[in-house]
Symmetry: C2
Subunit: 366 residues, 2 copies
């Protein structure tokens, strides 16, 4: 997989016009593009531009309704339940985050649970929306089934990411992770590279530990194989704890919203059912926000400056790597592999867009 | 370590009178005893009766003030900050849980952060208090430093447990875990049994992975060695994720309360600084509570009934093992090892209590 480097502005322009081509209005296309491009800039390549084709398929199949308007079906001063009406996940989740932020600003806290939405990209985008307003933000989503409960053979949860973002300098504390031991995208990457997986990442369709990525991936579309939660497939390294954190995400997203649990998402064409939970908390309900922020910054500094393990040069706090990748990729461009370029080119042809016009500096593919 | 079996009623009687002997009034002694005994009944032996001596030491050293009255220093309709005034952790945390529950009943949600408290026993006790009132309960605490940040040599977090409890039948969903790969008590157990640890649980004072439990334990009282977060010491099995969940606990407990972060707890005699976070959420702010509960029960049933991995006979949902242990130990008694019996006996002598009178059926120790 050789890599091409695309400039942020070019990729943004292409992405916006492509979503416009799918039928989204200019404002909505800009929002979707911003979510996908932040993922690319943060170095989370599995959730950025390379997903355009996946979203296009979901639109064509009727899982995503581009005309949908999410609706608040129940609310209190501190909470809301939103029906996403099968809308584009990024648009539904931004609406949920705005609702949570508005409630936090008036009531101190806003908890918003969402049913009947779609894949929303990186979880951290929505917790960071709250963070930019000086609030503590939380974002979770369930997802298509792929994660095994401890001692189980059939996946029952999604990779169920959890994100929390809290204001701090030089960058927010921004913890954004799948509650699975690895994202499915990483298993796919090992497969493309012909590499074996470490023992303990996942199981094959026979319910046995498997190191061949192809044999794990084979059963996933049919809900017959999967990866383990954080900590792996045994209790020895805390796999039952990862399973619990995955369940926490499931409960806040699909149970409290009376939505679809991961094991029933996309059971048929035209149905999605993905559920989110987005919360915002104003730190001023606990004290002086700037004092709280300084207290956090001082602790994060102590951790970063603490002694390193033998052979290690640096201790990261959560969110640092992403901010550094952002600066680098804004400057040097975003690496995109050949397969994604080919998919984007085919998509451009389909939408009658002149691909070369968007990326004038891109070398022609062989 | 041979094991003696004590009846619940006998152990409860002894425990109440011992705490009475320390100077607590009858009501407070009963609360503390109830927290410790639930841990014993749940099979979480590291946090029950065997801790009586530890609490006694902390009282004698002035870390715990038995006269302390926790005080709400700031509150809104949805939140409170409590100064524990160095009170007994169980009493401070029960007060925090009652505060959170009362706020949830009037405002739909109550978030309570606590500074300047002490070791509070099992986290799940306080989330279960909310659960018994039909609410979703959350409980977290930081703790004396013992957990390493990913790639770090110096422990910077405590084992920082996280608990969440939600009403369901036949038992609540009750997820209560340390965010470390294992509790320190488990490393101590391996040491007593002369067993080597699996590689990846902890590091020695030289910042190297260590399988000899004694070499990990040696540095812990001095903050010079520790165990890894859930997922272990590398990113391969998600150790950076466990580190993040540990940080989430730290932020809700010590940062939002302007309290003491784990790396500064008990830095001197007479100071503790342990911080908690206890929340209650009324599910009725999201819909019909009984419909939500049925939705959860149906999902938990699906998981328990899903296919088992090869060689596994059962899939647990969180809280099942504890409820089964409770029934068994209520019936058959609570196993207590010789060392704890000896400590309890010495404590009884110190308090001028007739040990044998409390445990008439106990065989004499050699």
């Amino acid at each position: 997989m050789s890599s091409n480097v695309l400039h942020y502005d070019e990729l943004k322009h292409f992405c916006q016009e492509a979503f416009g081509g799918f039928g989204f209005n200019e404002k909505d296309s800009a929002v979707i593009t911003d979510v996908l491009l932040l993922s690319d800039l943060y170095g989370i390549d599995s959730h950025g531009t390379n997903r355009i084709v996946m979203y296009h398929e979901l639109i064509k199949d009727g899982n995503i309704d581009i005309e949908a308007q999410p609706e608040i079906v129940m609310e209190t001063p501190v909470s809301a339940v939103i029906d996403g009406k099968r809308g584009m996940g990024q648009l539904v989740a931004c609406y949920a985050a705005e609702t949570a932020i508005a409630k936090a600003k008036t009531s101190g806290i806003g908890l918003v649970t969402v049913r009947n939405s779609n894949h929303y990209g990186i979880a951290g985008y929505y917790s960071l929306m709250a963070c930019r307003e000086g609030l503590l933000g939380i974002s979770m989503t369930n997802s298509r089934v792929s994660v095994l409960p401890t001692f189980g053979k059939t996946p029952m949860m999604g990779t169920n990411p959890f994100a929390i973002s809290i204001p701090a300098t030089p960058q927010p504390f921004n913890f954004d992770v799948a509650t699975s031991v690895v994202p499915i995208g990483k298993v796919e990457l090992y497969n493309k590279l012909g590499k074996q997986l470490p023992l303990g990442w996942g199981m094959n369709v026979d319910g046995l530990d498997e190191t061949d990525p192809a044999k794990i991936l084979a059963g996933i579309p049919f809900g017959r194989s999967g990866v383990h939660p954080v900590g792996g497939g045994t209790e020895e390294f805390g796999g039952h704890k990862g399973y619990g954190f995955s369940m926490v995400v499931e409960i806040f997203c699909s149970i409290l919203s009376m939505g679809t649990t991961s094991n029933h998402i996309m059971e048929e064409k035209g149905q999605s059912g993905i559920c989110h939970f987005i919360a915002a908390i104003d730190p001023k309900i606990f004290g002086d926000p700037s004092a709280i922020q300084e207290h956090l910054e001082s602790y994060l500094d102590e951790i970063r400056n603490s002694e390193k393990a033998t052979g290690r040069e640096r201790i990261y706090t959560h969110g640092e790597k992403e901010v550094e990748a952002y600066a680098k990729r804004m400057e040097e461009g975003i690496p995109v592999n050949d397969k994604t370029i080919e998919e984007m080119k085919a998509l451009a042809d389909y939408l009658h867009m002149d691909f070369c016009q968007y990326f004038p500096t891109l070398k022609p593919l062989k």
